[in-house]
């Protein structure tokens, strides 16, 4: 339940850091919450009667996925649950006849198609180390995951970029002002539905960073630092690269993600062979 709050603070940090990188002061840390509260109180306009239900579905399933992470459940199930959340947002955006939100939704679908296999493969590489798909079992191994899977950890960068909707892969709905699709997938959300979608987005970011912190699960502080490092890298990339089209997104994510993880697994197998 606390996951949206963690995510909200992360978004506040994001805005602060981004502002500093652009030599601005930036809004206060709690600005995302002020925004959300204000949105919630706005006069309700909706695009269709199904839209609010699906907007809440985005938030609800993101929280559910976070709960699976927090309770040490199955990694694959967590990723599938995240996919339901995404799907709620996508169907909600498809739900009106708006050209902008439709194109945003399509690009979001492609984004999902880009990062989901990489996420799943990352989970499988963790399986090769721990012998289990349960998140619980990551805490049990006596060495941090990062020492086994450094490349898998790096493969999370493009995943995070797509999911945080950061440049260069912010094709479906950008936070920057270089958006040709108005607000892309978010165009038709306003007021409380937008607040729900924002909360869902924060939760997802918190979820992914939580997943990243598992790479040093033995020590909570180092794990958090590790996740922040990843977060910071994504922000630096966001502020230094222009956006690219979706074809580049899918190609880069697959090639970089798959190659890194497979190289990592091959390395693990080689190490096992040498040790034995």
């Amino acid at each position: 339940m606390l996951s949206p709050i963690i995510g909200g603070i992360l978004m506040g940090i994001d805005r602060k850091l981004t502002a500093r990188m652009q030599s601005r002061m930036g809004p206060p840390l709690m600005q995302p919450f002020y925004d959300a509260i204000k949105l919630w109180g706005k006069e309700p306009f909706i695009a269709s009667s199904l839209q609010p239900v699906l907007a809440f579905g985005y938030l609800g399933f993101s929280v559910a996925a976070f709960a699976l992470l927090a309770f040490g459940q199955d990694m694959l199930l967590m990723i599938f649950t995240m996919a339901i959340a995404d799907l709620c947002l996508i169907v909600a955006a498809f739900n009106s006849k708006s050209p902008y939100s439709n194109i945003g939704a399509r690009r979001e679908l492609i984004g999902m198609m880009s990062y989901e296999p990489v996420m799943l493969l990352a989970a499988i590489s963790i399986f090769f180390v721990t012998g289990s798909f349960m998140i619980d079992s990551i805490y049990v191994i006596n060495q941090p995951l990062l020492t086994f899977l450094p490349l898998t950890f790096l493969a999370l960068i493009p995943v995070l970029i797509i999911d945080m909707k950061k440049s260069p892969f912010d094709v479906s709905g950008s936070g920057h002002a270089h958006q040709e699709l108005v607000r892309g997938i978010y165009t038709e959300f306003s007021g409380y539905t937008l607040a729900l979608v924002e909360l869902g987005h924060w939760t997802k970011v918190a979820l992914l960073l939580g997943f990243a912190s598992l790479f040093w699960a033995q020590n909570l502080i180092i794990g958090t630092v590790l996740a922040f490092a990843l977060f910071f890298v994504v922000l630096v990339i966001d502020n230094s690269y222009p956006r690219l089209d979706w074809k580049t997104m899918i190609k880069t994510t697959w090639i970089v993600g798959f190659l890194l993880i497979i190289a990592n697994i091959a390395g693990l197998i080689a190490r096992m062979v040498i040790l034995s």
């Binding site: 309700p44 306009f45 909706i46 695009a47 269709s48 009667s49 199904l50 609010p52 239900v53 699906l54 809440f56 579905g57 609800g60 399933f61 559910a64 459940q73 199955d74 694959l76 199930l77 599938f80 649950t81 996919a83 339901i84 799907l87 169907v91 955006a93 498809f94 739900n95 009106s96 006849k97 708006s98 050209p99 902008y100 939100s101 439709n102 939704a105 679908l109 492609i110 999902m112 198609m113 989901e116 296999p117 799943l120 493969l121 499988i124 399986f127 012998g131 289990s132 798909f133 349960m134 108005v182 165009t187 038709e188 007021g191 409380y192 539905t193 729900l196 074809k247 798959f258 197998i269």
Partner: protein, 638 residues
């Protein structure tokens, strides 16, 4: 009731009922007969299931009957080839007729003891065939009336249609219960006959063309079967499946299994034999539903599942995995660019069959259990989807998914059922996804270096699957901007019976995954496969991970209810979409352009024609598939 009576009812009753339909040619009589057959089939298969496995030796007269019918059947295929000037069909039919005749008369045939073996796998198959199959035939009662009405057919061809539909159900039962390879082969050819006749039912040019494609591809599989019979006769001295599966994996028995796997690939439409199932969609929708969900394609799966334990750990097993995985990936990619609803469903079927075959080929207990789970849930979900697609097609007269936009407002009942069917194909916590999840666990845990490649194929394939279902879903759920209430929709009784039965079946099975695993999957595991896919009250476990079921269901329903509550509480005025401020005041679905001309907003679907050409992917796929099949035979022979 005795097992033999029940056997006779499952195998013999449907064809006889079909004959009666054919002879009577009366609408009311046909409805009664089909309803009775459904009750008899479902009842007897459930009773058989409760009775458990047994062996049975039918009277010797049946051997003669099967022989005569088989020769007549092959002669009919020859005639069909001659009539349609198809040398391929003639050649392939002759390639079976001559060896079969020589086998029976020159070599004197071969007796098998016992002829019929009912085991747990065949009981599960029987349940699928009779429950899913009967519901589809009931559905066809209404569908065919509407269908003939639309096509303005004066002389009803329905008696013939229902004869072949029912014959198919009987033949499938014969196929799963026979222990003699020769009998399995006979029933196999009967299913080929039924599919050929049913695909060409409408008699259009394209129907005839596609039925011939289906015929020659399936006859090719039949040739593989005949080869298997000869190998069994000459080298292994037996045609009993029970005995054949006991053979250790010697090269020659592997060759026999490879020819049978080849036959299974043709029937289950794996690459390179995908074309016939894709072409079969020209047939009336109940035919597609029957071929895709419970019969025909499942015959191939059954054969692989039956023989898989015998080639565990061999190179053949890896080849089977590779072909399944390849088919899964390529069909998912092809479905991205498919515009016809039934075409997408057909690719989805072929892909899921590939996934099942892959799991069977992995041949670990977990893989095998995943294959069975997928098989059961796929039958129900795919049957449901085809039935809905048929209703929509008859109502809106188009098969293109882009024209199905906003169907929720036009046909709410059917659309909601269809949406549930789609969700059950690829989202947790439905059974198909649990099967897929178990499959990922099974591949990851299978001790082989090649499993990384297989994982990649499966992951990319399932990502593409999500994409094509999601965009279709998005289209269906578009609501009209005017905020009108949903329309009313009336369904004829047979439609309601079959669709709501399917829906409740899907929901009950989905909610009770643990029960399905306990009652159907675990008993059907072959001897020596220690079960590892277990279901308890709250979760399904593979030993490597656990999938929480009821908490997930409760959570999902709670999310939906809270969402509905918030939507009700906050409400909101429906506003027209943002079109840069150029909205037309009295029409929310249009915008103003130059000189205030009003243009309706059109949103097309996502296709990737610019990125890849389907025809090219298809032809590369067929070439690659052919190579894979050749590699399979080479690894076995060498």
């Amino acid at each position: 009731m005795n097992g033999d009576v029940l056997l006779a009812l499952t195998i013999g009753f449907p064809p006889l009922a079909g004959l009666l339909c054919y002879a009577l040619n009366n609408k009311t009589a046909r409805r009664l007969i089909v309803a009775l057959t459904a009750v008899v089939l479902i009842g007897s298969s459930i009773l058989l299931y409760q009775g458990g496995g047994f062996a049975y030796e039918p009277a010797p007269i049946f051997e003669t009957v099967v022989l005569v019918l088989d020769l007549a059947l092959l002669a009919y295929f020859l005639y069909a080839g001659y009539k349609n000037r198809s040398w391929l069909v003639i050649g392939l039919a002759a390639l079976q007729l001559v060896p079969v005749a020589y086998f029976e008369f020159g070599l004197g045939g071969m007796a098998v003891e016992p002829m019929i073996v009912v085991n747990d796998l065949s009981l599960v198959m029987s349940l699928i065939i009779s429950i899913v199959g009967s519901l589809i035939v009931v559905y066809a009662l209404s569908y065919m009336d509407e269908h003939e009405h639309h096509l303005h057919i004066e002389q009803s061809k329905q008696p013939r249609f229902f004869f072949f539909m029912l014959l198919l159900l009987g033949a499938m039962h014969g196929l799963v219960f026979s222990n003699s390879l020769y009998w399995v082969y006979f029933f196999w050819e009967v299913t080929t006959l039924c599919s050929y006749e049913l695909i060409r039912h409408d008699g259009t040019e394209i129907a005839i063309k596609n039925s011939l494609t289906a015929l020659w591809m399936n006859l090719l599989g039949g040739v593989g079967f005949v080869a298997a019979i000869y190998i069994g006769y000459y080298f292994m001295g037996s045609l009993s499946i029970e005995e054949l599966t006991q053979y250790s994996a010697a090269p020659i028995s592997l060759l026999l299994f490879a020819t049978l796997a080849f036959a299974a690939f043709t029937k289950s439409a794996q690459f390179p034999f995908n074309k016939w199932l894709q072409g079969a969609m020209v047939a009336p929708t109940p035919v597609s539903a029957l071929l895709h969900s419970s019969t025909m394609v499942n015959a191939g799966i059954f054969l692989i599942l039956r023989f898989a334990p015998a080639f565990r750990g061999t190179s053949l097993s890896y080849a089977v995995v590779l072909i399944g995985a390849f088919t899964f990936l390529i069909t998912a990619v092809l479905a991205l660019n498919e515009r016809v609803s039934k075409g997408i469903l057909a690719y989805s079927t072929i892909g899921n069959l590939g996934l099942i075959i892959l799991c069977a080929g992995i041949n670990t207990p977990l893989g095998y259990a995943a294959a069975l789970t997928l098989l059961i849930f796929h039958s129900v979900s795919k049957g449901l989807l085809f039935l809905c697609a048929g209703v929509v097609e008859n109502r809106v007269h188009t098969r293109l998914i882009e024209d199905w936009e906003g169907l929720l407002a036009k046909l709410p009942t059917t659309t909601i059922i269809m949406v549930i069917g789609m969700l059950s194909m690829f989202l947790p916590p439905f059974g198909m996804l649990i099967g897929k999840w178990a499959a990922i666990d099974a591949i990851s845990s299978s001790p082989s270096m090649g499993s990384l490649l297989i994982i990649m194929l499966v992951l990319v394939g399932s990502a593409a699957t999500t994409l094509y279902y999601a965009k279709w879903l998005g289209h269906l759920l578009v609501l009209p901007q005017s905020g009108k209430k949903l329309g009313e929709e009336s369904l004829p009784l047979p439609y309601s019976i079959s669709m709501f039965s399917f829906l409740s079946l899907g929901i009950i099975l989905g909610a009770g995954v643990s029960m399905v695993l306990g009652a159907l999957v675990i008993p059907a595991m072959p001897a020596g496969y220690i079960n590892s896919l277990t279901g308890s009250l709250f979760e399904v476990s593979t030993g490597f991970g656990s999938f929480i079921t009821y908490p997930f269901w409760i959570g999902a329903i709670a999310i939906f209810m809270i969402g509905t509550y918030i939507a009700k509480r906050k409400g909101g005025v429906v506003k027209p979409p943002y079109v840069s401020g150029e909205n037309v005041s009295d029409n929310p679905e249009a915008f103003k352009t130059t000189a205030d001309t009003q243009v309706p907003i059109q949103v097309s679907s996502l296709f990737m024609d610019n990125e890849f050409s389907s025809t090219r992917v298809l032809s590369y796929g067929v070439i690659a598939g052919t190579l894979l099949v050749m590699i399979m035979f080479l690894t076995v022979v060498l």
